[in-house]
């Protein structure tokens, strides 16, 4: 019979979300244990890009030194390809260092990042079971009993609270019947490390290809002519259009070689690995009797960019408050943990709901022409008008997502575009010059081709897609009502400000 240990809280999973949770709880003096299947350093399929908001959390947790951030090259520049075109190349203008965020991101390979973060949690007082795989979770007499395997040995840990931070394949979510399966909100991606590159180290590259919509590809530089490169696509689209992520990935590597002058001799330096991302659009209940789900297990990934390191840590910092409150109250029913739902909704919904709507719009591959043009124009606008970039959210890399202002700007430029174009077409028609194609009319016709293709291809899907858009738009309330995106000041300020 396995030995049983009794503690306050178990965190399953020692990725960024699990470590941030362990650290936050330990800092509050809670007896917490992190159960992590792997022995670190371990590889995690990721783009390794940590945005400024994430760096701010890392700084607060005191890991800047250990990660040697000072020696890494900050990502301050950007190259954006649309097919073979390079509509933007230069500084990322809207990383301005406000609210304690550095004016840049970093590429931190996950074997290093996760190792440091987990160690940091341990140093703060959390117990860490490395190489220990959680196998079963049961609830007995108001307590969680976690059975885990450490090598051959079986481990039983008992605690009133359990936190699922065990990633997309979360066993905790599965045990609570909360595993996300809605493929409208699940991305699939593949990434690899490249070497033999001749690229600027502070410059990220991303690209969009019309045949890989909805999705995009990235190449994030590391030291020594190496880079993390990969692509991400929506699983629903892959299913419907019989697209293979592997094939798209191979194409992307090929294209990168001729698209980017520094990648001509690029060499694949690791095994390409695939991974899934559970995006915020699919978020459902993240609490249950006896605990909560955070990070990828709770679908906190940005639906436009697929970033989840920062979001995972943020969800943990918010969640730690609910866990502490439950321990304090000695109440562990589902209702008790509903405060987590309240918190994460208040924190993420304003910006995320908006991004979810954008992601919904992009879901229809039939509109690839329009989507392609629209995102390119958005990108161009964001790169040259930093005011737009800032408020346009992670959709174009900004931070202070301001849907209201952004919608205003977008609608304004759309209206301007189509009114001008429409007026020009009308004048031509009235002056008897007949129909002349101009940009706006071309865009309208491209949209029309998408509409017709979509209605002809699968009308029930089309209608359900429209329903999803309407639903996403209907949930925009918090986005439009906020004065400032709570994510701008970060999770610590949020917890402090609302306690």
């Amino acid at each position: 019979m396995a030995r049983t240990q009794r503690i306050d809280a178990i965190v399953v999973g020692g990725g960024p979300a699990g470590s941030a949770m362990g650290w936050s709880l330990a800092k509050r003096g809670i007896n917490v244990a992190i159960v992590e299947r792997a022995v670190f350093p371990r590889e995690k399929v990721c783009g390794d890009f940590v945005e400024p908001a994430g760096l701010r959390i890392i700084e607060t947790m005191g890991c800047t030194q250990a990660l040697d951030l000072g020696k890494r090259l900050p990502i301050t520049r950007n190259r954006v390809y649309y097919e073979a075109r390079l509509p933007y190349h230069g500084e990322i203008p809207y990383y301005d260092g406000a609210h304690g965020m550095p004016p840049h991101g970093y590429i931190i390979p996950r074997d290093q990042l996760d190792t440091v973060l987990l160690q940091n949690a341990e140093d703060a007082g959390a117990t860490v079971f490395r190489g220990t795989s959680a196998k079963a979770l049961e609830r007995e007499g108001g307590a969680n009993i976690l059975t885990a395997k450490q090598g051959k040995e079986e481990l039983r840990i008992e605690a009133p609270v359990v936190v699922g931070a065990d990633g997309v394949q979360s066993m905790v979510a599965k045990a609570k019947d909360l595993r996300r399966t809605d493929r409208r909100h699940i991305g699939a991606s593949q990434r690899v490390y490249l070497d033999n590159l001749d690229i600027e180290e502070g410059e990220a590259t991303i690209w969009f290809d019309e045949d890989q919509i909805p999705g995009y590809g990235w190449m994030f530089p590391m030291n020594g002519g190496r880079a993390n490169m990969g692509i991400g696509l929506l699983t629903e689209t892959c299913d419907r259009f019989d697209m293979s992520v592997q094939q798209c990935f191979r194409d992307a590597v090929e294209r990168l070689r001729f698209r980017h002058p520094g990648c001509r001799n690029a060499r694949v330096a690791s095994k390409p690995l695939g991974g899934a991302v559970h995006m915020y659009g699919g978020v459902t209940r993240n609490h249950f009797a006896g605990g909560i789900l955070v990070g990828d297990a709770g679908s906190f990934v940005d639906p436009m960019t697929g970033e989840g390191i920062t979001q995972g840590m943020e969800s943990s910092i918010l969640g730690a408050r609910s866990v502490a409150a439950a321990l304090e109250a000695g109440q562990f029913g589902q209702d008790q943990f509903a405060s987590f739902e309240h918190d994460f909704r208040a924190y993420f919904d304003p910006a995320m709901r908006y991004l979810v709507l954008l992601a919904q719009l992009l879901r229809n591959r039939h509109f690839h022409e329009s989507v392609f043009t629209a995102t390119r124009k958005g990108f161009e606008k964001a790169q040259v008008e930093s005011s737009f970039g800032e408020i346009s959210g992670t959709s174009f890399g900004g931070l202070n997502v301001q849907p209201l202002a952004m919608t205003g700007q977008l609608l304004w430029s759309l209206a301007d575009h189509f009114l001008r174009g429409g007026a020009a077409a009308l004048t031509d028609a009235l002056r008897g010059r007949g129909f002349t194609a101009n940009g706006a009319v071309e865009d309208l016709l491209a949209w029309q081709r998408g509409w017709r293709a979509s209605t002809a291809d699968d009308l029930p899907w089309h209608m359900s897609w429209l329903g999803d858009i309407a639903k996403a738009a209907g949930e925009l309330g918090p986005s439009f009502l906020m004065d400032e995106n709570p994510r701008l000041r970060g999770p610590f300020a949020f917890v402090e400000g609302t306690s």
Partner: protein, 700 residues
């Protein structure tokens, strides 16, 4: 409660789920069919089901039950299966009861055809956007497209069959009816309302709108709008008003019903081991002590009736036969009467049906320019429609000549019950529209373009169409009555399904529901579910909320159109001169004065019911899948943008040209002209201000 079949071992019952997997040698009853060997082991365990009636409903029920592993015997009175969708071969020529129209929204039918039979729709059917109308003495066909796209709406407005204003009212009355939330069990007295009664209660209705609704109903369902249940018609409209999904109104089979539909179904049934007894007239169904159906039937040529008790029964016969079977007036046979177990079924005697005489005219020549669509002969006696099957069915059947199917939707108006006499009366009526048929003296007259050897007249007295008359909903049978009749279920277009109008879709859905009910009863009795769950396919239609929103949006247009119609009526009266001008003016003033209060009342009511349906969503019919208001609104917006894009992009989509159409275009053209001039002025002004600016800059 224990029964004879209860002795069957439980294990065998559970294995019956996958009939084809078993290979053990047959132990008994290997008679049924070839593939029966595979199911032999389960044959012992599988309950026996009698399906009475080999129409679409009965065949569907049989098919679904066979797929689930039941043993099925199908009884059909005639030598061929199909019932109302059957064909009769006369002198080697197939004559359908009527070449049916298969609507695009027949989800259950298409699932049966495509999934169960594995056939491709496009291979066997041709899509039709709608039907046409022809007026006597004219050779200008008028299109009646199904309003599932903006082009169709605009084309309908231009088609000239009614004035645009009246078409707006006709369309609005349809949306209005579809937006009504009638109670689901049909018991509400005030809601036992016919279509005319409904129109009479509406402030915007005009005589022309009522006429048109009546015409459409008679044409398609052979029933007067004065008798058609408003709720049932409203339900039909909900299913067919699918703007803007561009769906064709219907599909026509490229062959006779027998060759294209019934034979493939029959082959499938045989493949699954169905025992099919045609020429077997079921005379009575009574129930034994365990409520099992005891069938008694007369096989063709047999001296005495046969009898057998089955585990379950599905009754899929027309209403008159069903009423007889349920009442079972015959004395001297054992068992309980069905009516004694379920008294509610006495109401079956109230249901009615009508025969639609159909004349198949094969010709000695080809009629040039005859449309491919079905044509309503507007204003004809007997409500005639015409369809040229030689452009539809395999060409080798016609030798390059035409063959017209003439149906008399208003058959009861024909003053004869002698087939050839009736045929001549229909021909005389047809000649008013097609002079080629003038002067045919008698059936077989050699001095005509008719090939009499191949032509055929059927009065269809044994193939009646179920009538959805007012109040009939509450009398129509349900699929099952588990309390009183645990071993008997009901199928047929007369049963209650969410397709209320008598259609093939209703028949197929009811057959599926009856089979599902048998499966459920079997599971309840044995504690084991047999086979994969039998499920019907939900229809996708707009939610009541959506219809109510559409109604509210259209309301101003409707009352504007109503005012226009009143104005036109006044002008017509004035133009005709005479001493009625004063009276006409009084009527006009009266009509117009009433518009604001009527519109306000309707707006208030409409807004309230819209609000109600937003608040209590559970009111929505669980049978159908509803398209929400917002998705619908986005769809409509998208369609409008699509239409606008076509206009901007210079794309011209074909629309029928008629005089009314041109007039309508004239109005639109004028509006465009005014807008154009206004725009031109503005543009010129803008140009000027631009140039001043430029000059100012240069100076600087």
């Amino acid at each position: 409660m224990s029964t004879k079949t209860k002795v069957k071992p439980k294990k065998a019952a559970s294995k019956a789920k996958r009939p084809a997997a078993k290979k053990s040698a047959p132990k008994s009853k290997p008679k049924t069919a070839k593939s029966g060997a595979a199911t032999a082991r389960n044959a012992l365990a599988a309950p026996e089901v009698a399906v009475v009636g080999g129409g679409l409903a009965g065949m569907t029920a049989a098919l679904k039950l066979l797929q689930a592993g039941f043993k099925v015997t199908l009884f059909e009175r005639y030598d061929r299966l199909g019932g109302n969708t059957s064909s009769q071969a006369v002198n080697g020529v197939e004559h359908d009861v009527y070449p049916h129209m298969f609507c695009d929204w027949y989800a259950n039918f298409w699932s049966l055809f495509e999934q169960d039979l594995g056939l491709k729709r496009e291979d066997h059917f041709v899509a039709h956007p709608g039907s046409m109308m022809l007026a006597p003495g004219s050779d200008d066909y008028v299109n009646m497209l199904n309003p599932t796209s903006l082009e169709a709406v605009v084309a309908n407005m231009k088609s000239g069959s009614m004035s645009p204003a009246e078409l707006v009212l006709l369309g609005y009355s349809g949306v209005d009816l579809a937006a009504q939330g009638f109670d689901s069990d049909g018991l509400n007295q005030m809601e036992k309302l016919d279509v005319n009664g409904f129109l009479y209660s509406r402030g915007y209705a005009t005589e022309a709108v009522a006429e048109m609704q009546n015409y459409l109903l008679t044409l398609v369902w052979s029933i007067d709008s004065a008798k058609t249940s408003a709720r049932t018609y409203g339900n039909f409209l909900q299913h067919s008003l699918r703007f803007p999904d561009h769906s064709p109104f219907d599909w026509l089979l490229k062959n006779s019903l027998n060759a294209g539909l019934v034979e493939p179904l029959r082959a499938k049934l045989e493949e699954l081991g169905c025992s099919i007894r045609t020429n077997a007239d079921v005379q009575s169904v009574r129930l034994d002590d365990d409520q099992r159906p005891m069938l008694r039937w007369q096989a063709d040529g047999a001296k005495r009736t046969s009898a057998k008790t089955f585990d379950f029964g599905v009754l899929a016969v027309p209403s008159a036969v069903l009423a007889d079977i349920v009442m079972c007036r015959k004395a001297g046979i054992g068992g309980k009467r069905i009516i004694d177990c379920e008294p509610e079924l006495a109401n079956l005697r109230r249901l009615s049906s009508a025969a639609i005489p159909v004349l198949d005219l094969y010709l000695k020549e080809k009629l040039d320019d005859f449309p491919i669509d079905s044509i309503g002969l507007a204003g004809s006696n007997y409500g005639l429609t015409a369809l040229d099957i030689s452009q539809l069915w395999p060409a080798e059947l016609f030798d390059g000549k035409s063959a017209l199917i003439i149906a008399a939707s208003d058959g009861d108006a024909i003053p004869s019950e002698n087939p050839h006499e009736a045929a001549m009366l229909m021909l005389a009526e047809l000649a008013r529209f097609y002079p080629q048929f003038e002067g045919v003296k008698h059936w077989g007259d050699p001095d005509s373009i008719i090939d009499w050897d191949k032509s055929h007249m059927r009065l269809n007295l044994d193939y009646k169409l179920f009538l959805d008359d007012t109040g009939s909903w509450s009398w129509r049978p349900r699929a099952s009555y588990p309390e009183g009749l645990p071993r008997l279920t009901f199928a047929g277009d007369l049963c209650r399904t969410d397709v209320e109008m008598a259609t093939m879709e209703g028949a197929v859905q009811s057959g599926t529901l009856a089979a599902a009910a048998v499966q459920a009863q079997d599971a309840a009795q044995t504690g084991k579910a047999r086979g994969n769950p039998i499920e019907d396919v939900p229809h996708r239609l707009y939610s009541p909320t959506t219809f109510r929103a559409a109604k509210l949006l259209l309301l101003p247009a409707a009352y504007a159109a109503y005012s226009l119609v009143a104005l036109k009526r006044y002008r017509a009266a004035k133009a005709s001169g005479g001493d009625h001008a004063g009276e006409a003016l009084a009527t006009l003033i009266e009509d117009l004065a009433l518009v604001p209060p009527k519109a306000a009342t309707e707006l208030g009511q409409g807004a309230y019911s819209f609000y109600r349906s937003l608040v209590d969503r559970d009111e929505e019919d669980p049978g159908d899948e509803k398209i929400g208001l917002s998705a619908a609104a986005l769809m409509v917006l998208g369609e409008i943008a699509d239409y606008a894009a076509s206009q901007v992009g210079g794309e011209k989509r074909a629309a029928p040209e008629t005089a009314a159409g041109q007039a309508f275009e004239g109005v639109l053209g004028q509006i465009a002209g005014i807008a154009g001039r206004a725009y031109g002025t503005m543009r010129a002004a803008a140009d000027q201000s631009c140039s001043t600016k430029r000059r100012w800059r240069v100076k600087r």
